[in-house]
Subunit: 764 residues, 2 copies
C-alpha cells in the first residue's frame, strides 16, 4: 500500500504550530537575563559624524551598553563589495544607517536611551538619484571611488545588422521602483554567549550558514565560534538573506555585554534596515520581424543600489541577462550600470531582478505586437525557447511549460473573446493583458556549488528525523522534504520530522534563495532516503532470509513483496541496526549538486532547471479617477512537477498579489533621502479588497534534473503580474504606462496626453 502524498494537496507540516500560536519566532524568545537592543539611526542621507556623546544614555538606569562605530570591529562586511560597518564610523551614507546600539533591561529603557545619545553631524551633499550619482561632479557616496558600483556589458551577434534587417524596431524606457518585502515578521534575533564563550544566535533568516559566514566576517570571529539557529521565520522574500544588520547588531551587543540580547525591528526600523528591491530604469530596443520573431535586442539599465551595494550587483545581473534566455535570441547588446546613492540600500527581492526586466520586456512585446497586428501571446510563443535548446547565454533548457502556461492563462481569462469584444462606452473601461516570464531553479554563481546535503536518522521507532539547513521561511520546504522522505520510505508524513537549521549540527547548506531548495534539497532527500532504505533492506534481508530486491516497505514494516506475511517492523530493523555486531544508529547523508557551470565571464549554464510562468489579468480603469482595479487574474506556474499543489497555488497566488502591490500600490516614498511611509498604514500593500478572487494553474513540464521532475515553484509567478496589468491598462484605455507604480495620477496624465495627441491628430 503506497501512502505517498507526492502530487497531492498536503497541509504544511509547520501549519499546526503556527496556527496554534506555538511556533517560536525570535521575537517570542525570552532568555533569563536577556537584554533588549535598540538602534539609533542616522537622520541624514549623508553626513559626517562629528562627535557622539553616549554618557547620558549610559547613565540611564537599566542601560547595559551603548555602542558606536568605535566599539565595533574594524571589519567591513558586504557581498560584492565589503564596504559596510556594523555601526557607522566617520560618515553616514543613508537616512536610517545604524549609528549606535543600546542594550538595556527593557525595550522601553533601550528606546529612551536612544534619545539620550548626542550625535553631532555635519551634513554633506547627498546623491539622491542615480542620475545625480552618475554626474561627474557628484559627491562620492564612498570615498576614493566614483558612484558606479558595478557594470555589466554583454554582446552577442551583430545587433546593428539585426536591427537593420528588422521589420519593426522599437525603443522605450521603463522605470520601476523599490518594493519593501513586507513579510509579516520583522527581522528579529536573539544572540547570547554560550558557556564556552561562543556566540549563539537565533535569527529569522533565509540561510543559517550564510548568516554565520556574515557574522564571522563582520564580527571578526571564526565561524566555529558562532552557532546560528534558524528561529521560526515569518517570511523572507529575499529580505532575510545577508543584507540586513539586525543579527550583526544583536551579536555585537551580546559579545560586548556577555548577556543574551534580543533585537526585534519594529516596522519602521524594518523598512529602514531591510533592503527593498532594486529600482531600475530599463531602456529596451527590440528589432522584430513581421511574424513576431525578435531579431535583435539592446538593453541599457541604470540600477540604483542605494548607499551600500549588498546583493544589488547580482540583482542587476539577473535583470540584464535572465530574460534573454527565455527567447531564441541571437543578437544582443546590453550595458547595465549600478549606481550608489545616499538612499537606503536595495537588494534581493523575490524574483531577484526578474520583475524589473520582465516589466519592460512584456510591455515592449505587447506594444510591438499591436504595432504589427499580432497577438502578443503568439509573439511569446514564436520566440520561446524550447526544451532541449541552449540559450544565448549557454543555458541548457531541460524543460519548458511556457506555452502551456500561456494557453492556460488565455483559456482562463477568455483571451480571444475579451480582446476582440467591442469596448463598452462609459467612464469605466475594461481590458485584458498577458505576460510571460522565466526564472531559475538554483544558481551555481553563488559560489561554484549549488548543492544541498540532507541527513536522515531513522530512529528505533522507525520514524525519521530529517536534517537540512535549507530554510523553511513559510514557502513549504519542510513539507517538501517530509513528503519526499515519506514517499521514498513509504511511511506517513507524520513519521518524519524536519529539524530546524542549526549550524553546529545541520549539514552545510546554502539556504532558501534562487528557488533552489526543491531541486537541490529535494534531490538530496531522494538520495538520502534511498540510502536509508538500502541500509534497512540490507539488514532486513538478513533477518528475513531473502535478498534486498525482494523487499518493500509497507504499513510500517519491511516485508517480502511476494510473501507479505514475512516481515519485520521498521522499528525492529532500525533498532537492530544499532543493537548488533558492528551496529550503529541508522544515519545517512546524501548530497546532490547541480551539474551546472560557473559562467565564464557571463556565459554558462548556471541553473539545473528553469521555471516558467504566465499571467493574464483583466482590469477595470476608471477614466474619471484614474483608478485601476484588477478584476480577474489567472497565473500559471510551470513548476515541473507539482509535489504539493496546495503549496504551489498558495505561493503562486501570494506572488501575484505581491506583483499587484508593486504594479499598483506599493512605493517607498523618499523625501531628500528620508523614508516618509515606513509603516503599513502609509505603505499601501494590497489588502483583500484590492485583490480579485485569485486563480492559478499549474503546468507540469517534468524537468529531467528535478526531483520527480519538479523545479523551483512560484517565484516565477511574481514576474508577469506588473506587465500583465500594464498591458491590460493599455488594452482598456490605450495608455501605455512605462513608469511603475500605475497610480491614478499617471493614468489620468496618460489619458490627458492621449486625448491631447488625439486632439492634435484631429486638428492636424
Amino acid at each position: 500500500m503506497k501512502v505517498s502524498t507526492i502530487g497531492t494537496a498536503v497541509p504544511q507540516v509547520t501549519a499546526r504550530s503556527k496556527v496554534l500560536g506555538r511556533a517560536v519566532y525570535a521575537g517570542d524568545m525570552k532568555i533569563a537575563g536577556m537584554l533588549h537592543g535598540k538602534v539609533l539611526r542616522s537622520p541624514y542621507p549623508h553626513a559626517r559624524i562629528v562627535s557622539i556623546d553616549v554618557s547620558a544614555a549610559l547613565a540611564l538606569p537599566g542601560v547595559k551598553a551603548v555602542l558606536t562605530g568605535a566599539d565595533a570591529p574594524r571589519a567591513k562586511w558586504g557581498v560584492h563589495h565589503k564596504e559596510r560597518r556594523i555601526l557607522a564610523e566617520g560618515k553616514v551614507r543613508f537616512a536610517g544607517e545604524e549609528v549606535a546600539a543600546v542594550a538595556a533591561i527593557t525595550e522601553e529603557i533601550a528606546r529612551d536611551a536612544l534619545d539620550l545619545i548626542q550625535v553631532e553631524y555635519e551634513e554633506l551633499p547627498a546623491v539622491l538619484t542615480p542620475e545625480e550619482g552618475l554626474d561627474e561632479d557628484a559627491p562620492g557616496v564612498h570615498d576614493g571611488r566614483n558612484n558606479v558600483s558595478h557594470e555589466i556589458k554583454v554582446e552577442h551577434g551583430d545587433v546593428d545588422a539585426a536591427f537593420a534587417s528588422a521589420d519593426l524596431v522599437h525603443e522605450a524606457t521603463y522605470r520601476c521602483h523599490a518594493q519593501y518585502p513586507g513579510y509579516l515578521e520583522p527581522m528579529a534575533t536573539v544572540a547570547t554567549i554560550d558557556p564556552d564563550g561562543r556566540l549563539q544566535v537565533w535569527t529569522s533568516t533565509q540561510s543559517a550558514f550564510l548568516a554565520r559566514a556574515r557574522l564571522s566576517m563582520a564580527l571578526e570571529i571564526p565561524v566555529s565560534q558562532i552557532r546560528v539557529i534558524q528561529a521560526t521565520t515569518g517570511g523572507g522574500f529575499g529580505g532575510k538573506m545577508v543584507e540586513d544588520a539586525n543579527n550583526l547588531i544583536a551579536g555585537l551587543l551580546a559579545l560586548r555585554t556577555g548577556k543574551p540580547v534580543r533585537v526585534v525591528n519594529n516596522r519602521l526600523e524594518d523598512f529602514l534596515a531591510c533592503c527593498s528591491s532594486v529600482p531600475e530604469q530599463v531602456t529596451l530596443k527590440l528589432g522584430m520581424r513581421r511574424d513576431g520573431t525578435i531579431v535583435g535586442k539592446e538593453v541599457r539599465i541604470i540600477a540604483e543600489c542605494g548607499a551600500y551595494s549588498g546583493l544589488s550587483a547580482e540583482v542587476m545581473h539577473v535583470s540584464a541577462m535572465r530574460s534573454d534566455n527565455m527567447h531564441r535570441l541571437q543578437n544582443l547588446r546590453s550595458h547595465s550600470t549600478l549606481v550608489y546613492t545616499n538612499n537606503p540600500p536595495h537588494g534581493a527581492f523575490r524574483g531577484f531582478g526578474g520583475a524589473q526586466m520582465q516589466f519592460a520586456l512584456n510591455s515592449h512585446i505587447d506594444t510591438m505586437a499591436r504595432k504589427l497586428g499580432l497577438d502578443p501571446v503568439d509573439v511569446h510563443k514564436t520566440n520561446a525557447i524550447r526544451a532541449g535548446e541552449v540559450s544565448i547565454h549557454g543555458w541548457k533548457i531541460g524543460s519548458s511549460g511556457l506555452k502551456e502556461c500561456l494557453d492556460q492563462c488565455m483559456d482562463a481569462i477568455q483571451w480571444q473573446a475579451k480582446r476582440s469584444a467591442p469596448r463598452a462606452a462609459g467612464t469605466v473601461r475594461r481590458g485584458v493583458g498577458i505576460a510571460a516570464a522565466m526564472h531559475v531553479s538554483g544558481n551555481r554563481t553563488i559560489g561554484n556549488w549549488d548543492g544541498s546535503t540532507v541527513m536522515l536518522k531513522v530512529n528505533e521507532d522507525g520514524r525519521v528525523m530529517i536534517h537540512s539547513a535549507e530554510a523553511e521561511i513559510g514557502q513549504g520546504s519542510n513539507t517538501m522534504l517530509s513528503q519526499i522522505v515519506a514517499h521514498e520510505l513509504n511511511i506517513p508524513i507524520s513519521h518524519t520530522h524536519v529539524v530546524a537549521p542549526d549550524t553546529d549540527l545541520s549539514p552545510y547548506a546554502i539556504g532558501s534563495l534562487a528557488s533552489r531548495v526543491t531541486i537541490a534539497a529535494g534531490n538530496a532527500a531522494i538520495l538520502a532516503a534511498r540510502a536509508a532504505r538500502e541500509k534497512l533492506f540490507a539488514l532486513a534481508a538478513t533477518t528475513l532470509k531473502t535478498t534486498p530486491d525482494q523487499l518493500e516497505i509497507a504499513e510500517g514494516a519491511i516485508r517480502i513483496r511476494e510473501q507479505p506475511e514475512k516481515k519485520a517492523t521498521l522499528a525492529q530493523i532500525a533498532a537492530l541496526h544499532i543493537w548488533r555486531h558492528d551496529g550503529e544508529g541508522l544515519q545517512v547523508s546524501a548530497t546532490w549538486d547541480a551539474k551546472t557551470e560557473m559562467h565564464a565571464d557571463v556565459h554558462g549554464n548556471v541553473a539545473p532547471a528553469h521555471s516558467f510562468a504566465a499571467q493574464a489579468v483583466e482590469v477595470e480603469v476608471d477614466t474619471e479617477t484614474g483608478r485601476v482595479t484588477v478584476v480577474d487574474s489567472f497565473v500559471s506556474d510551470d513548476c515541473g512537477k507539482a509535489l504539493n499543489p496546495l503549496a504551489i497555488h498558495g505561493q503562486t497566488n501570494g506572488a501575484s498579489v505581491q506583483a499587484m502591490g508593486w504594479a499598483l500600490y506599493e512605493e517607498m516614498q523618499l523625501e531628500n533621502g528620508r523614508l516618509m511611509n515606513g509603516n503599513f498604514a502609509d505603505y499601501t500593500m494590497p489588502t483583500a479588497d484590492a485583490v480579485p478572487m485569485l486563480r492559478s494553474g499549474i503546468v507540469e513540464s517534468i524537468d529531467p534534473n528535478g526531483p520527480y521532475g519538479a523545479k523551483g515553484a512560484s517565484e516565477t509567478a511574481i514576474l508577469p503580474g506588473a506587465p500583465a496589468i500594464a498591458n491590460a491598462v493599455f488594452d482598456a484605455i490605450g495608455v501605455r504606462i512605462t513608469d511603475l507604480p500605475i497610480t491614478p495620477e499617471k493614468v489620468l496624465a496618460g489619458l490627458r496626453a492621449k486625448r491631447a495627441a488625439e486632439g492634435d491628430a484631429v486638428h492636424a
Copy 2:
C-alpha cells in the same frame, strides 16, 4: 610540528565554563512561562493507597496541575523488570516512592501544594531486610511473585575436589552497605512541549539516548516524539542512568500542562529518589595451595535491590562474576540472589558491583595469606591473569598492568618496611593494607552493541565540531574527544568543539557507563578524524598537484611534507570542500564497535579491554576511640595509556576518596524503611580533613584494542580502597572487620572480642 596533547596534562575543555559559573545545569535553566514541579512521596515503606484527594492542592492559586498515579500512563518502566510506574498507583513499596506530582508557578507554591494533598494509606507489613524477604511467610513486595528478584548460578570445574586438594580452605561472610552517589548536582530536568507537540527534555544524565528510550517507555510516546538534550551534568557515578524518576516526572508534568516544567531534586529528595549502591552479603570460600595459588572458589551473594530492581540484577551479576576474571581460576561455584525489600531502590554505582565483591575477596586473600605466611601481594601476583590469557568466563585479556600497579603501591607506601616494622606500643596503632581489582572498559551485554559513533564537521575556518552522544559528566570525555581529534588532525584543542548530546542531532550512543567511552568513542574519534583527514588530503592533493600520501597537516595548513612551502590552509581546503563541483560540507561519521561477544548464558568475552588497579593505604587506629584515619594512600590505575594524566589522577583520587567514604563514613541510615540521614550534615561524606594527601600512579599497559592503547581509566580505582583499609586495620590492630562501614563502634567491638579471645586463650 606536532601539536598533540596525547599523554600530556590537559585542563578539561569544560573547565572554563564551570569555573566561571557559566555552565548551564538544568537547575539553572529558566524558560518563559516555566512551571516548577515537586513530588509527594510515600511516608510508608509499604502501604495501600486508599484514596488521594488533590482538590485542596489544585485550588491553591498558582497550582497548574496535581497528578497522581491515575493521571500517569499505564506503562511500567524498568531495566530488568518493567515494574515501576511514574507515580504509584494502588500501592507504595518504599518510603520515598513518588505518589503525586505538582506543577506550580513557583517552587514554593508547589511545595505548599504537596502539603494539601490528602492521601489515605493503609499500612502493610513491610520487608525491611533481605533475610526477611527470603522468609517463606514474608509479605510479597510485588504482587504475584516471591521476593527473589533475580538469581545467578555459575559453576565451573570441580570445586569440591579443589577444596579437598587445597592446603588451606577459608570461608567468611562479608557485608556491605549502600552508598549514595553524592554528586554535587542533584538530579534536575527541564521538560517542555515544543511547537510541534514533541516533548523536549534537558536533563542531567549519563546517557541522553537511554534517557529518551526510558521516557518513551514510561510515557508511552514514540522516541521520535521526544528530544533529550544533556544539560551540563554535575557528576553521575552511576546515579544518573535510567533508575531515577526525575526526568519522567518532569516529562509527565510538561505533557499534562503543555508548559515548560522544571523539576530539581533537593538533597533529601535526591537521597530518596536516586538509587544508592547495592548492599550485599557475600559468603566467600577459597581453597588455596601453600604457595598462594587459589584452586577453588565458592561464592554466595545475597543482594538487596530494595523495592524496584532497576539495574541491581546487572550489578549483582558483576559482583558475582567480574572478580573471577582477575585470577587464573579453574574451579568456581557461585550462587547469587537478589531480593526485594521495601527499602528505597538500589542500583548502579561507580564500580557497578565490583566494590562489594572486591571488599570480600581482598579481605579474604589478606587473611589467607597471613595464615599461610605469605605476602598478600604475592598471592595477588601468583593468581593474576596475564595478558594474552582467557579467563574462566571467557574474557580475553589484552593487557594487564596489575602487577605493575601492585609494585607502584608497594613502593609508594614502603610496603615491605612498614609491614615488617615492629608495631609501636600505645593506644594509636598504625598498619598498612593493600588490595587489587579489575574492571571492564565497555560491556557488550548492554544490548549486543558496545559501539560508539563520532561525527565530525570541519568548518570553513578549518576548525572541527565533534558530535557524540557519549556524556561528559565531569569525567573528562569531551576533553578526551578533543584531544584525539586534535591529535589526528594536528590542530590545537581550541580548534575543536564538542557539541552536547542531543538525541535529535547527535549520532546514537549508549552513554557514559561501564567505563566504555574512552575505548568506544575514542576509537570512533580516531576513525572519524582519519576519515576527515583523508577527505582533506584528497582535495588538497588536487589543489597542490601531488598525491595524498605526500601531505601532512601542520601549522593550520596542509602541505607537502618535503616541500612545506607548498601548502593550502585547512580553512581554504575546508571551504573548497563545499564550494566546487560535487562539493559538500566536510562531514564524516565513523563507528567503532568492540569485537566482543554477548555471553552465552554467563560465558563470553564481553569487554574489549580490562582495567586494573591497586591501592595501598596506611591507617592509624585509635584503640581508645575506635577511630580509623587513613594517613597515607597510593592508588595506581592501569588505564592502558594515559591520554590525559591530569584527568586520570583527578578521577583516580576522586574514586579513592569515594571508597574511603564507603569504607569508613557513609551509610544510609534506615529506620523501619525510612531514611534518617538524607542530607550532607548527617550523611557524612569524607571532607578534606578526613583525607590524607592523595597520591596516585599510572600504569600504561597499552591495550591492543584501546585508542593509542588506552582503556577506561579510574573507575577501577574505587574498588580496592575499602579492602585496603580493612586490611590495614587488621595490620594495625589484628581485628578483621567484615562488615562495612568500619565504624569506631565496630573497631572497639572487634578489639573487645579480640582481647576476650586472647584472654580465653591465656586462661585456656
